[in-house]
Symmetry: C2
Subunit: 140 residues, 2 copies
DNA sequence: CTACTACTTCAAGTGAACTTGAGGTCAACA
DNA sequence: TGTTGACCTCAAGTTCACTTGAAGTAGTAG
């Protein structure tokens, strides 16, 4: 497969694939002239990368999850830790979602006057945003 | 209150407060010599900003949630939309967390050989992490 | 009065994850 | 054989949300 095939099958732009290769996240198996050739299993690898990204791992962390030969080798400790972290994140997001939903329905003239919103506010104030895990807005 | 008071009470560095002011997210009420003076209600405002950040709004989006006079004016539609978005995010994170937890326990020699992990992989592949840059601009 | 310190401005730097542009190559098709 | 178009490299640019640094100012403690 050449880079265009991988791009269309994975939905990622070729520039991203080249970037991922440079970062050591994927590998091309050879060249046809100038052109990179990819083994079809790169798609599985890209899926794994997407999984990691969605779970909030940085590209560097993800790169560290592969052994030298390219087989995934994810540290179980790390998985547990990340799962726990996700758990905390989820709890926060659930509170946030409920708060937003309430605010959207709330009859109080201003959200600031709604006790529930105020509680939410205090909760948010106590939890300043850290370096955000990859929950980037996707409005489709 | 001078900027140091606001900083210590909010937990945000002064540089961030100046940056927020520059971005139109907060306002100082005057000066004492060179020094900014803040009304204590800036703390409530900062809490609101933290709330928005936690919910995944960009600073620009948050800035748009205030009326000219500085009172919050949050669009209910937007809240619903954001809550729904959070919901989708949460569902993904839950799947991710369960997947990670499973992977950490799974006896399969490689995660890639585990059917459950494979399902997770396919799910992640269907939901590539989207770029956020243009999307947030579109909201303004 | 002097020193100290917390503030001030403005410009530039940071880091993550890419994207864009310029200039070049080359396999395949007509 | 020539043209096309998809690929190539490398450097630089982009976005977001800040942070850092240099150089300057001014209220306050001693």
């Amino acid at each position: 497969m050449d880079i265009g095939d991988v791009a269309s099958r994975s939905g990622l732009p070729a520039s991203t694939l080249r970037y991922y290769e440079e970062r050591g996240l994927i590998r091309s198996t050879g060249r046809h002239g100038l052109r990179r050739l990819f083994d079809p299993n790169v798609l599985e690898r890209l899926a794994l990368i997407a999984l990691g990204r969605n779970a909030g791992f940085s590209l560097d962390e993800i790169a560290g999850m592969f052994t030298a030969d390219g087989r995934p080798q994810i540290d179980r400790e790390q998985l547990f830790a990340k799962a726990d972290e996700l758990d905390r994140n989820i709890k926060q997001l659930v509170a946030m979602r409920d708060g937003l939903r309430h605010a959207a329905n709330c009859p109080a003239p201003s959200h600031l006057e709604c006790p529930k919103f105020q509680r939410l506010l205090r909760a948010a104030a106590n939890k300043p945003v850290k370096r955000r895990t990859k929950l980037t807005a996707k409005l489709q």
